[in-house]
């Protein structure tokens, strides 16, 4: 799992690359916490993510909660179909207003 951060002022774009499974989730969760503190707006680019586990969803959920609490915004883009299905199934897509 590789992440690449692109800073655009108070917007942090994170390019994710690789499977987000239970193995990488704890690390990713810490990373997300750091990102959440740093930026007002966080955009996650899922172009390189073929799979996300429910644990990974939990990390996204927590990031979403953190960003919402601090009044910032959080969005995802370039989500592949398989991942989008997961988002949609779990209802995560609703949170992100991605539409079904």
């Amino acid at each position: 799992m590789n992440v690449k951060l692109i800073k655009k002022g108070n917007v942090g774009e994170v390019l994710l690359d690789g499977r987000i499974d239970a193995k990488v989730t704890p690390e990713l969760e810490q990373y997300f916490q750091k990102i959440a503190e740093q930026f007002d707006k966080v955009v996650l680019d899922f172009d390189g993510v073929p799979y996300i586990s429910s644990a990974g969803l939990r990390a996204l959920r927590n990031l979403y909660v953190t960003m919402s609490r601090k009044g910032g915004s959080f969005s995802v883009r370039n989500v592949r179909k398989d991942v989008m299905d997961v988002f949609n199934v779990t209802g995560f897509g609703m949170l992100l207003n991605l539409g079904m």
């Binding site: 939990r58 959920r61 209802g91």
Partner: protein
């Protein structure tokens, strides 16, 4: 081969010391040799200077002293001649007095030579062969001269050098005083004549009319070479008598040869014509002639001729010339009485002898000191080498000691470390290791490391024990978890109008998935599949809570969506971990075969109708339970959960599952996927859950192969029996664990 640290240190130190010592020793020896060289050079230069200075000054000194010497010698020799002449002149005046005034002197008898007086100094009368022995006047003259007999005796007797003294009368008689009267007597006892006028001294004096010294002559009576002098006596202008005397050359030689100085010094007496009268040279240019005079004026050596001429002018001097091809100094001085000259030769070598001696002495001293220096040098070198060896030995000893000292703590450490076998043996920094340098630091580090190691071992043991405990507990938890899910399917299914089967394979010891089925009442069967986000113990606990809450709410007879809403509210309240759970809850009315279900972000339901499996599309979007904290619930779309109804027919089958099925991934990162699932189901030989689920599980395994299972895999299958399959004998109560 291993070389110990101490050996290395030792080698390095000894090498350093050896190099230093060898350099020092080499420098010392070099210095000594250089000094010796300088000494030798100095000595040679000094000798050369001495030789130069000496020969110069010696030449001056020698010139002066030799000249003085030869002058003194010449005076001494000349004194003999002067005395002789003086004696003769005194005698001559007395003879003149007697001959001028014969009347005043009474003739005395003058005896003839006699054999009785042989060897005695006596007065004798000798006639010449032409004399008239009977002539009265002659005999009276003889008698009157004879009065001087005692005087003449005194002259000869008082002199060391005079052989004889005589008064010769022209008439043919001679009054002589000498020690050899026997020589004047012939073999037959006859008196031998003496023809005095033929003698050079007589002839010379008569001719010159003044005192005359004859050249060296052979003496008549003594058979020796002698120098004779004659002094004429004139009466009334007529030669009246000649007084004569002779000096034996032996006496002269004694005087002259006394003047000789050393082996390479010679003395030579020459007369007024340059003839050699005496020479201590036996040969060569100044060699004593074997008879007859040899005039040096005729010499081929021009320098010598010049010198002789100069000497015969009555001068004294000192010259250097080549004599017999050799550099020779010649000092000369006149004998004014006889007009002769004395030469004193000394070879340059002789003159330089002193200088040579001096230089030889300094040389010897120098040689001695050189020898001493050489010995000292050897001594010094030996000492240097000994000192070097001693130093090396000391250095070796010190190095060994130092190296050992340095290495001792390391050895000690090694020993301690190697002894650290059991848990109770700890590394301890003792006095040996308190070196105050890096070794102590190292030792302290080892001690610290040892302490850490021990702590780690303890912790590790504790941890291992803890792990063991957790592992045990986890396996217990797994059992509990699986026990929590209904599993006694045969009994449950046997007499029912439906058959049911389920499986849950956690990816870890405990999973986040669960399934559940239970009867709410006789007509209602609740079916649950759920997936808690994450895995492990936390997920398992969350799952248990969720499972309990769901069953709890469902048992109240609420509609599925109500159940979810209620459980969502309860789960959201205390969810610090941010967990959420997707749930599919279905409640099947067994009498109407109507399925009411609610979905909270869970997978789609699969229905098999008339042997054909299909997905039941979700009625609307939904979100997982506890997706948002209570204060953010308003962000959720309303209503957040979907609900739906499905009319089933006998023979229909249902399959619910968790995403572990569709997201099962093979080594090529391919997902099993919904389509593959559908295909697999449609290819399945049976839709009877007890057969279908293992088949499905087998297919998934075949697809995944060796790839790791990431997610829990949960399946729940239900099949409604056809009327013909009913036994009609319901055994009543459900069994649930």
């Amino acid at each position: 081969m291993k070389i110990s640290l101490s050996t290395k240190l030792f080698q390095i130190m000894i090498a350093l010391v050896a190099v230093a010592v060898i350099l020092f020793a080499g420098a010392g020896i070099f210095q000594v040799y250089r000094f010796a060289g300088i000494m030798g050079e100095t000595n040679r230069e000094q000798n050369a200077v001495i030789m130069d200075t000496m020969s110069e000054s010696m030449e001056e000194v020698a010139a002066d002293s030799y000249r003085k010497y030869v002058v003194a010698e010449a005076k001494l020799l000349d004194g003999e001649f002067w005395t002789m002449r003086h004696d003769l002149e005194v005698l001559a005046r007395q003879v003149q007095e007697i001959l001028e005034h014969p009347a005043r002197y009474t003739p005395v008898d003058v005896p003839r030579p006699s054999l009785e007086n042989a060897g005695k100094l006596t007065v004798q009368l000798i006639y010449s062969d032409r004399a008239d022995q009977t002539d009265r006047e002659l005999n009276e003259q003889i008698g009157r001269v004879g009065t001087l007999g005692s005087t003449i005796l005194e002259i000869v007797g008082g002199s060391d050098t005079l052989l004889d003294c005589m008064v010769s009368l022209p008439g043919g008689a001679t009054v002589i005083v000498d020690r050899t009267p026997e020589a004047k007597i012939g073999p037959n006892g006859e008196y031998l004549p003496l023809n005095a006028w033929r003698r050079p001294w007589y002839a010379g004096a008569a001719t010159h009319g003044e005192p005359y010294f004859s050249p060296v002559n052979r003496d008549n009576y003594h058979n020796t070479y002698e120098v004779m002098a004659g002094v004429p006596v004139y009466v009334n202008g007529e030669l009246a008598a000649v007084c004569g005397s002779s000096i034996q050359m032996n006496s002269l030689e004694g005087i002259v040869s006394d003047a000789q100085l050393g082996e390479n010094s010679h003395t030579c007496l020459i007369n007024e014509t340059g003839g050699i009268i005496y020479s201590s040279w036996t040969d060569g240019e100044l060699g004593m002639p074997d008879g007859g005079l040899k005039s040096l004026r005729e010499s081929s050596n021009a320098e010598l001729v010049a010198l002789v001429n100069e000497a015969l002018t009555g001068k004294t001097g000192f010259s250097r010339l080549l004599l017999n091809g050799e550099e020779t100094y010649i000092a000369y001085a006149p004998l004014p009485t006889v007009g002769w000259a004395q030469l004193l030769t000394v070879s340059r070598e002789e003159l330089n002898q002193t200088a040579l001696l001096l230089t030889r002495q300094t040389d010897e001293v120098m040689q001695e000191s050189m020898e001493a220096l050489r010995l000292n040098q050897i001594d010094t070198n030996i000492r240097t080498v000994l000192a070097a060896l001693l130093l090396l030995a000391l250095a070796a000893f010190a190095s060994k000691l130092f190296a050992n000292r340095l290495v001792r703590p390391i050895k000690r450490m090694t020993q301690q470390v190697s002894e650290m076998q059991g848990d109770d043996v700890t590394f301890h920094v003792d006095d040996i290791l308190r070196t105050g340098d890096e070794i102590e630091v190292l030792a302290c580090s080892i001690e610290e490391m040892d302490a850490k190691l021990h702590r780690y071992i303890r912790e590790n043991s504790a941890m291992t024990a803890e792990k063991e405990r957790i592992s045990t507990e986890l396996s217990l938890a797994t059992r509990i978890q699986s026990d929590m899910m209904p599993s006694v399917f045969p009994k449950f299914t046997g007499a029912e109008e439906f058959s049911i089967d389920a499986l849950m394979h956690p990816a870890k010891e405990v999973g986040g998935d669960f399934y559940d089925f239970f009867r709410i009442d006789d007509d209602h069967l609740a079916l649950v599949t759920a997936d808690v986000s994450g895995k492990g113990v936390g997920a398992a606990l969350f799952m248990m809570i969720s499972k309990t809450l769901l069953k709890n709410e469902a048992m109240h007879g609420k509609a599925p969506v109500e159940v979810l809403r209620e459980v969502n509210a309860q789960l959201s309240e205390s969810n610090k971990e941010g967990m959420f759970v997707t749930v599919w809850l279905g409640i099947l009315d067994l009498s109407t075969l109507k399925l009411s279900y609610a979905d909270a972000g869970h997978e789609k339901l699969l229905l098999c109708h008339e042997g054909k499996w299909r997905y039941i599309e979700k009625p609307r979007r939904s979100a997982a339970l506890a997706m948002l904290p209570p204060d953010m619930l308003e962000l959720m779309p309303t209503p957040p959960f979907a609900e739906g109804e499905l009319q089933l027919s006998p023979g229909d089958a249902l399959l619910q599952y968790t995403d572990g099925v569709t997201e099962a991934t093979n080594a090529q990162s391919e997902l099993f996927g919904e389509e593959r699932l559908l295909d697999t189901l449609n290819r399945a030989p049976s839709n009877e859950p007890t057969e279908l689920l293992p088949y499905l599980r087998g297919e998934i395994d075949a697809f995944v192969q060796d790839a790791e299972q990431f997610d829990d895999i949960t399946m729940l299958g239900v099949r409604l029996k056809k009327q013909s399959e009913h036994t009609g004998n319901e055994t009543g109560e459900e069994t649930q664990k």
